[in-house]
């Protein structure tokens, strides 16, 4: 019998993933930037033995809107505070290769990994926004091709820095006065197209060797980056069929890079409205949808699709031709638009219905049902070759995380596909990923590493 286990992440996001979550009467809206709110959520996720918590991020204002929370404390900072008040749960932060220096980013994640005892993960993004570029002395964002070339070199530099102290470099020999062995601390002397970094890192090797590499984004370049580097992938799919196609594609690509496909965990987003009955769950979803401000959703959709929709009546069916030019899902920058185009084509929603679909979780899979129904969907995708686990995105925090951990997780545990206790203490151990050796720890590894530069 296969002992394959689900990986479950709680994707933390303000008062919930639904854009109108904060208007729910029970929403603790005044706590949206209180760190204790997030610490409590992480503690609940940990009590349910989830693998990790995750913060998305953009180094700019997501939307200068009055209609939803727009303040986002920097995620590594939030996770450092959460680390101090939790014991086991993984801590995954998004950080951009376009707007960080590799030395700084390597240090931040190394610090988080050390202080948390091996629980850090880095969600690698390249950031696709001119508005953000203008916060960093650039006129516009570099092209996707350029960003991904830079991202790969960035990852190579960061990896070398994380490996620059061998695991046994520290001697701490009081008697002789030798704190470390200088032969085991390596200058990396990276010289590449975008970066020249001497090293070594200002910290020894962290408990996981390297924090876990995570990636989100399904464009062609994104898939190449993921297949080559990522150990966990966050992705958005509306149907099992789409998810399975993505899953197969990534696992095949990973294998072509000479990697073990089991060491690439694919975790689609799932945003469940839960009720004691299906009707109750749907009623809650309808109610929260009714709290959306159409002007907000419309602006968001127009922004990322790059089209005008203002001329449409809210209750008019969205014309197919509006999304006809959305291109292939593999196009850089377009993978999320394609998800919307698929909804428009498949379900023929009115504009209002479309906005409600997107309001839930920005194109991620929003479902409404009983805990049993949601557990069934999770099992189906997990056993159907579409997912290794899920990035759980409760529409409302904290109540729908509570319902998920209290009512869905036990069903998954009963079915033997989710742990009842943590088996290890690091995020790598939760995900079933190996701890990598330092590329500097043997001569062969060192030669291989140099050729990746």
């Amino acid at each position: 019998m296969s002992n394959r286990q689900l990986s479950l992440n709680a994707f933390l996001h303000d008062t919930g993933h639904h854009e109108a979550s904060w208007r729910h009467p029970d929403s603790p809206v005044e706590r949206a930037h209180d760190i204790n709110f997030y610490i409590e959520l992480a503690q609940k996720a940990e009590a349910a033995k989830l693998d990790g918590v995750f913060f998305a991020d953009v180094p700019g204002l997501w939307a200068a809107t009055p209609y939803r929370p727009t303040a986002h404390l920097e995620p590594i900072t939030r996770l450092a505070a959460i680390a101090a008040r939790t014991e086991r749960i993984g801590l995954i932060a998004t950080a951009s290769t376009t707007f960080y220096e590799p030395y700084n980013l390597a240090r931040l994640f190394s610090s988080l990994d050390i202080l948390s005892g091996g629980r850090a993960g880095w969600n690698i993004v390249t950031t696709q926004s001119d508005a953000v570029a203008r916060n960093f002395s650039l006129k516009e964002i570099p092209s996707a091709e350029e960003r991904y070339v830079r991202a790969q070199e960035f990852i190579d530099v960061v990896t070398k820095l994380w490996d620059s102290w061998e695991d046994d470099a520290i001697l701490a020999d009081r008697g002789s006065g030798h704190y470390f062995d200088p032969d085991k601390v390596h200058a990396i002397n990276h010289v590449g197209r975008h970066y020249q970094v001497e090293g070594a890192l200002a910290a020894p090797r962290s408990p996981q060797g390297r924090p876990v590499y995570v990636q989100a984004g399904s464009s062609n370049d994104g898939r190449v980056l993921a297949a080559r580097n990522a150990e966990a992938i966050f992705t958005a799919h509306q149907t099992l069929g789409d998810a399975k196609a993505f899953y197969d594609d990534i696992k095949t690509r990973a294998q072509k890079f000479g990697r073990n496909p089991d060491h690439v965990k694919i975790l689609p987003g799932l945003s469940p409205f839960l009720g004691d009955t299906e009707a109750e769950a749907k009623e809650l979803q309808e109610y929260v949808n009714s709290l959306t401000v159409p002007a907000y959703g419309l602006g968001q959709l127009e922004g990322f699709a790059g089209i005008s929709l203002r001329h449409l009546d809210l209750d008019e069916v969205v014309p197919l031709e509006l999304f006809a030019g959305s291109g292939d899902v593999l196009d850089n920058n377009r993978s999320r638009v394609q998800v919307v185009a698929n909804i428009v084509e498949r379900d023929r929603p009115t504009l209002r219905q479309l906005l409600h679909r997107l309001a839930g979780a920005r194109g991620h899979n929003v479902v409404a049902g009983t805990p049993m129904q949601v557990a069934d969907l999770i099992s189906d995708w997990f056993h159907g070759g579409a997912a290794d686990g899920f990035n759980v995105m409760p529409p409302l925090y904290p109540q729908l995380l509570d319902k998920f951990t209290e009512q869905v997780v036990p069903i998954l545990q009963e079915r033997g596909i989710f742990r009842t206790e943590y088996a290890g203490s690091t995020l790598r151990e939760h995900y079933g990923l190996p701890r990598p050796n330092s590329i500097y720890s043997d001569a062969a590894g060192q030669a291989a590493a140099v050729t990746t530069a």
């Binding site: 005044e30 930037h33 009055p66 680390a83 101090a84 931040l108 610090s111 960093f136 001497e198 709290l291």
Partner: protein
């Protein structure tokens, strides 16, 4: 009673400031990378009602070799974790204006200020070394003048970003569907020589308005920068006279900038080595001295003086050409202090290394609790200090002993608080919350 109070900051450094502290039987050589070590130190300082704790930093594996703990946490990250385990104590992190982007750093500092509910401070450094430049794709380190010019503009941008949210932004009006007030959110559209930053920030205005701004470094450029921006200054002095001269100079410069001199606190470093008797204290100092590895000190001295260590003879005074040289690039205020010390006391290099082992040029005071309190009182009442950067030679024991034996004497003399009066670091330091510059503009119209 409204007697002026002194301010105490605990400058933390792995197993202690003395370079050999990690070799003592009662310290933990792994302290540098142990979160609980820093939590414990912060809690000791907080229980004693210290204003703050502080971590120095450099983006480099310290180039002084294998004889000391080299690895360390990034300060903002570790201090955020410490924030989650403390309530009141201020948290001062060093970060570089040369190797950060203002948007990213202003955001992280604002985030730490929110997480800690108003306890964040930024020790602003410009990162002088070649080793750091080499970690950031630069063939040559930027010149000091360029670094300070960038730092000045960096501060201008950071302050605009912190002011880009009005304090009244949050509405949370569920009924009308208005989470925030868009009129309280401003693009900054900064265009300068080093940066172009649109803004606004994506974090609300910090609890303290701005995190407390701290500076260390006593070069001409450093002093000019401090006079303009700093609210607390860390500095190293060996004698009362030097400390008084610096204090008078900096306060005059602050006044010349149109600022209130009481809003810039000068905190010299102090390494107390405490014994029940003077003999006990001396024995403790000797124990540390015996554990020193001369090669380590020599490399560090060579780094301060920006020279090749092979050119130095341990049993001779510092070479004449070093002593007589003028201020030059890569040769900072600490180099001047070290040379002055060697000359004033006619020290050989070996003797000089011994004097620097405790605190890298900071004032090491070996004595009884009363003697240490006496010196602090003298400096505080004689125009040399507004408080001290307390640097335990070994940690935690050096801080614990100070808290248990010296702090009560300072309290008895009415020089130090017995309870916190406020909740934020600015309140501990008696500093105002800055007014939002954009609100001033509106009021001016």
């Amino acid at each position: 009673m409204t007697q002026k109070q002194l301010h105490l900051n605990a400058f933390l450094m792995e197993a202690g400031h003395h370079e050999a502290s990690w070799r003592l039987p009662d310290t933990d050589p792994g302290a540098a990378l142990d979160l609980q070590h820093y939590v414990r130190l912060a809690q000791i300082a907080e229980a004693a009602k210290f204003d703050s704790i502080f971590l120095a930093d450099g983006s480099v594996t310290m180039g002084t070799g294998e004889f000391r703990a080299s690895g360390q946490f990034e300060p903002l990250t570790i201090l955020t974790a410490v924030a989650a385990a403390t309530e009141r104590i201020g948290l001062i992190a060093t970060a570089s204006t040369t190797y950060n982007e203002p948007y990213a750093l202003a955001r992280r500092l604002a985030s730490v200020d929110h997480v800690s509910k108003g306890r964040a401070a930024w020790n602003i450094v410009t990162s002088a070394t070649q080793e750091e430049a080499a970690n950031f794709s630069l063939a040559e380190r930027p010149l000091q003048a360029t670094r300070y010019e960038r730092a000045d503009e960096f501060l201008e941008v950071a302050k605009k970003l912190w002011d880009s949210w009005g304090d009244g932004h949050f509405l949370g009006d569920k009924e009308r569907g208005r989470w925030g007030d868009p009129t309280q959110l401003r693009a900054i559209d900064h265009v300068g020589r080093h940066f172009r930053v649109a803004g606004p920030l994506n974090v609300p205005r910090p609890v303290q308005g701005y995190p407390l701004l701290v500076q260390a470094g006593a070069s001409e450029q450093g002093k000019a920068f401090a006079a303009k921006h700093a609210e607390a200054i860390f500095v190293a002095h060996q004698t009362l006279e030097q400390a008084q001269a610096f204090y008078a100079d900096i306060k005059a410069r602050v006044v010349a900038e149109g600022r209130n001199p009481d809003h810039v606190l000068v905190l010299p470093g102090l390494v107390p080595i405490i014994g029940g008797t003077e003999a006990d204290a001396t024995a403790k100092a000797q124990q540390l001295e015996d554990l020193r590895i001369p090669e380590y000190g020599l490399r560090q001295l060579a780094m301060f003086l920006d020279i090749d260590e092979a050119t130095i003879d341990l049993d001779a005074p510092l070479p004449r050409e070093i002593v007589e040289q003028e201020v030059r690039e890569g040769f900072d205020s600490r180099a001047r202090l070290v040379i002055d010390l060697a000359q004033r006391e006619k020290l050989t290099v070996r003797q000089l290394l011994s004097r620097l082992g405790g605190g890298r040029g900071h004032n090491v005071v070996i004595g009884t609790p009363e003697q240490i309190a006496d010196q602090m009182e003298t400096w505080f009442t004689q125009g040399a200090a507004d408080g001290f950067n307390v640097m335990g030679a070994s940690l935690p024991s050096g801080l614990e002993t100070f808290v248990q034996t010296v702090v009560p004497i300072l309290r008895e003399r009415g020089l130090f608080r017995s309870e916190y009066a406020g909740a934020t670091l600015r309140e501990h330091y008696g500093l105002p919350r800055p007014v939002n510059q954009f609100e001033i503009e509106v009021a001016g119209v």
